[in-house]
């Protein structure tokens, strides 16, 4: 579709994000919550909705909800309520999901995002607690489906944004910021592939300048950043095409088919579920008293943007470098650990960005999936600073450390890299040898062509790469001028 046509319209996007909370047990029972276990081994009467079973709220899940609310400057309600949301599905054991409806845990709030080098704020509608469903498996060519209830009842926080996004990219930036936030808070591992962070979007378009919102459609199954971006672009273009052809958008729910690269309608407004919400009679009012909120606030983890600013203030990093290092909580932790163990902040920042992140990117690994500990990196930086390792050698040694997790000394031995020569008489011998071998250049230098000094350093280093360039300069100067 041509850009001119697209430019006539403004898109209006809102996101609903399900955050799987990293609690040890489920939202409403003490059945263990874990990923990747044998099917149907993490259940109990509550999870399976056996007759007579009753829900009991997980305190930690509420605490995690409070954390998100605090981190997004939401208003936490001291009284909130659980409600039943009804629909039949094999992976929904009770025939209803316990969620929050009219009185959610928190409302309002905002998430600060960086997008196209601009800082903006996305308003949140609400944050509420609920439970996850189990998982259905469909096998190709077989007229049956299989259900695993391990995930059923896992604690979720749903974060609903206002329709504040004007482009798919901005929506993705928000989703990234949210992912970063929940990982910083330590309440979710943010793994979209495993489904611990899931995203639905609603989107509409309107001619630029028009106040009134267009008819929206809801997109489901957006389980990667890429899917969010592609699906939204696809859907926006579909809306534009419909309207340009004189048609209209039908309010409906669509599924993103990543393989086909298109959205497909799963139900229209007429077929929409009638959830028959009503207050959950099995759970009294959820009380979150002020002192509890204050307690959680007092121990709240440092937030990404705060940490970024601190890195600038405390370590003298540029805002850009601080941004890179704080992007992932794990990386920021790694950096600070290296500094704590004696690494020079700027050198550490430089090394991590130019060497470590390059290697990680090449391998598609995360900082936790490589064996070089902050301790050995701090050691490497210290040896560079003392001149014990040349920059070039440090790079070679560092890469090997990254691959093997070995210490500086182990790698140096393995690669036969000796420490630089410390004995000045030995260095002097090499220098004299070079000077003697280049009588012309020596003469020109001594006549005043000081620029040739670099040539001599190069020649000396060529004899033995393990020499310390600083020591070589010092001795060479003496030999040439003496």
């Amino acid at each position: 579709m041509n850009d001119e046509l697209l430019a006539k319209y403004e898109s209006v996007i809102g996101l609903e994000v399900h955050v799987q909370l990293k609690t040890d047990t489920k939202m409403f029972s003490r059945s263990r919550a874990a990923f990747g276990q044998e099917p149907n081994t993490l259940t109990d009467p509550v999870v399976l909705a056996l007759p007579g079973a009753l829900p009991v709220v997980n305190r930690k899940a509420v605490e995690y909800g409070i954390k998100i609310a605090l981190a997004t400057h939401s208003t936490i309600h001291e009284m909130s309520r659980f409600a039943r949301k009804h629909y039949f599905y094999p992976d929904l054991p009770k025939g209803y999901q316990i969620s929050q409806y009219e009185q959610p845990l928190a409302t309002g709030g905002r998430v600060e995002i960086w997008h196209e080098d601009r800082r903006s704020e996305i308003a949140l509608t609400r944050i509420h607690l609920e439970e996850d469903s189990g998982k259905n498996f469909h096998r190709e060519g077989v007229d049956e489906s299989l259900v695993d209830y391990n995930r059923a009842g896992v604690a979720l926080a749903e974060i609903v944004s206002e329709p504040d996004f004007r482009s798919p990219e901005q929506a993705v930036a928000y989703l990234r910021a949210l992912r970063q936030l929940v990982r910083y808070l330590g309440i979710c591992d943010g793994n979209m592939e495993e489904g611990s962070l899931r995203c639905d979007a609603n989107v509409s378009i309107r001619p630029r300048g028009q106040e009134k919102l267009g008819t929206k459609t809801e997109l489901k199954n957006l389980n990667s950043f890429k899917a969010v971006k592609l699906a939204l672009h696809y859907e926006i273009e579909r809306h534009v095409a419909l309207i340009e052809q004189g048609g209209e958008v039908v309010q409906s729910t669509l599924l993103w088919d990543a393989a086909a690269g298109q959205t497909r309608v799963i139900r229209t407004k007429e077929e929409a579920h009638d959830y028959r919400y009503f207050p959950e009679p099995d759970l009294p009012v959820l009380e979150v008293p002020r002192p509890w909120i204050d307690e959680v606030a007092a121990h709240l983890e440092e937030l990404p943007l705060d940490r970024r600013q601190r890195f600038v203030d405390q370590y003298g990093l540029t805002d850009y470098d601080a941004g890179v290092l704080t992007d992932e909580w794990n990386l920021a932790e790694y950096f600070e650990e290296v500094v704590r163990l004696g690494g020079d902040p700027k050198k550490a920042a430089n090394w991590i960005q130019t060497e470590l992140l390059r290697l990680l990117k090449e391998d598609g690994r995360s900082i936790d999936e490589q064996p070089m500990s902050p301790k050995v990196l701090a050691d490497l930086l210290a040896r560079m600073a003392s001149g014990e390792l040349t920059g070039r050698n440090a790079k070679v040694v560092g890469e090997r450390m990254y691959q093997t997790g070995r210490t500086v000394d182990e790698v140096r031995e393995e690669l036969g890299i000796r420490p630089p020569e410390r004995d000045e008489s030995v260095v002097e011998a090499v220098c004299r040898q070079v000077v003697d071998a280049h009588p012309d250049e020596t003469a020109r230098y001594r006549d005043g062509n000081k620029r040739l000094f670099g040539f001599f350093v190069g020649q000396v280093m060529k004899q033995d790469r393990n020499q310390d360039p600083k020591l070589v300069s010092k001795v060479l100067k003496r030999v040439l001028e003496g």
């Binding site: 009467p45 094999p90 054991p93």
Partner: protein, 493 residues
């Protein structure tokens, strides 16, 4: 006198003092059940093996000089709404046929921990929906006083078992009167505790905000003994009350002298059988003649209780029964063409007509566009009803009313008109809506020899007041000591 004719406290005392073994008590009951229950149908299932094993354990403890618990050897008929680990639990429904729970209800666990012996699972209306036990999917349950009549419901099996001497005490549940009404119709004593007093964990839900389990026995004292053992906070039930358990047995001995008994005038109007009214009024006179003050009170919103109840309870039921879908347990229709067909047919074939009616009603009142007019409004009316009681209880300690407007009716006589059946709950429903506690005690017989029940109501956690009045009354009368003819049959043979 045979052991089964003794009161529960006395039976327990016999077991604890080795006068009789728990095993002998249980055997005696099983013999009686064998001989009599064919004609009554109070049990759906017996757990002879489990009961005898438990009885032997109690006896061993007695022999070893250890405390066998306050309910040592007490033989219990457990309404089939309480799940029992390893023992089929159906809630009176085909949809749960063959369901063997892998866990135990808190109530039955506490009963066993107190030394009680669970004889079997008592008959009931399917999912506790009904007032006659005619909605049991398995067998007819008859009133021991007249085998052509209903025992009431939904805890009809429990009431009939107590009335016929087929258990020491029974456990029932009461959502709109399901303990008190069958207790009245069978001439036994039935207590509905305050909502949250007894754990609902493992008690199959009908209407979660109204359901409450409680004892049904031959006397207020027997009920007090059981309630002390099962009441109290349960971490598995978020609505269970974290309040100290009362001294119910002691309250039974205190008597009602000096108490003020309120008589709600709205409970003595049209629809009330004159014989029932006369018996209840005589009961009130007995209280007045023995030291109670009588005072007329008013509950102006009484006429709205049934309407509110028949919105709230089906709404919650429609939700609670969504889990019976043929997927994880229970009945599944054969040869379904697809998932939707499997769902709809499993539920259509698995549920009985009354249950389906309530699911339909509940689904309707919660569906889009109707919530405010029905469920929302009913919950507000519920507040008005609760306020009525709050005000009335400022002027009295307890209230006394009829339990049921009529005595036991003929089997089949009310099946064709659901609304008429619902109206039978008119005196019991408000207690559930307002979160009160209530008890039904026998207070007379009608001209056909059918028992009449008198209801005593108290504010939330006022169980001790109920026991003071009921036990005091039972010391002055003998209505609760009578046995129907069928109970004597074993000896006649």
């Amino acid at each position: 006198m045979d052991i089964w004719q003794l009161g529960l406290a006395s039976q327990v005392e016999h077991v604890r003092t080795k006068a009789v073994s728990a095993e002998d008590v249980a055997s005696a009951y099983f013999e009686r059940i064998e001989a009599v229950d064919d004609r009554i149908g109070s049990y759906l299932r017996l757990d002879r093996e489990g009961a005898m094993a438990q009885a032997r354990m109690v006896d061993e403890q007695v022999r070893a000089g250890r405390d066998p618990g306050p309910l040592a050897g007490a033989c219990i008929a457990l309404k089939d709404i309480f799940v029992t680990k390893g023992v089929e639990t159906t809630c009176g429904s085909k949809i749960l046929e063959g369901f063997v729970p892998p866990y135990e209800s808190t109530v039955s666990e506490r009963l066993k921990a107190a030394g009680a012996v669970i004889l079997g699972k008592a008959n009931m209306d399917e999912f506790a929906m009904g007032s006659s036990t005619e909605h049991s999917a398995y067998r007819i349950c008859r009133n021991p006083w007249d085998l052509d009549r209903v025992p009431g419901g939904s805890s009809g099996g429990s009431a009939a078992a107590v009335a016929a001497g087929l258990c020491g005490v029974a456990m029932g549940t009461d959502t709109g009167g399901s303990i008190r009404q069958p207790a009245a119709l069978c001439g036994v004593t039935g207590l509905r505790p305050t909502y949250g007093r007894v754990s609902r964990y493992g008690m199959i839900a009908f209407a979660s905000s109204l359901d409450q389990g409680g004892p049904m026995g031959r006397s207020a004292e027997d009920c007090a003994l059981v309630l002390e053992a099962i009441a109290g906070r349960d971490p598995a039930d978020s609505t269970s009350l974290d309040e100290p358990v009362g001294r119910y047995q002691e309250a039974c001995r205190t008597g009602f002298k000096g108490m003020c008994v309120g008589i709600p005038k709205e409970y003595f109007r049209e629809g009330l059988d004159p014989q029932v009214e006369a018996a209840v009024r005589r009961g009130i006179e007995t209280l007045a003649a023995n030291g109670a003050t009588i005072k007329e009170v008013s509950l102006p919103h009484t006429e709205y209780a049934i309407a509110a109840y028949y919105i709230i309870s089906p709404a919650e039921a429609s939700s609670n029964l969504a889990r019976y879908d043929g997927v994880r347990y229970g009945y599944r229709a054969r040869d379904a063409s697809d998932l939707m067909d499997m769902y709809c047919r499993s539920r259509a074939e698995g549920f009985g007509s009354e249950v389906k009616r309530r699911i339909m009603l509940g689904t309707y009142v919660l569906s889009a566009g109707y919530y405010d007019a029905y469920y929302g409004r009913a919950q507000k009316v519920r507040t008005l009803i609760a306020d009525d009681f709050r005000k009335a209880f400022e002027d009295c300690d307890v209230m006394v009313t009829p339990t049921s407007p009529v005595t036991a009716f003929k089997l089949g006589s009310r099946m064709s008109d659901p609304l008429q059946m619902y109206l039978a709950d008119m005196y019991t429903i408000s207690c559930n809506l307002a979160g009160l506690t209530g008890m039904s005690i026998p207070c007379g017989m009608d001209g056909q020899g059918l028992p009449i029940g008198m209801q005593v109501l108290a504010p939330a956690l006022g169980e001790e007041r109920l026991f003071r009045v009921a036990a005091g009354y039972q010391r002055l009368t003998d209505w609760h000591r009578r046995w129907p003819e069928v109970a004597q049959a074993q000896e006649a043979e």
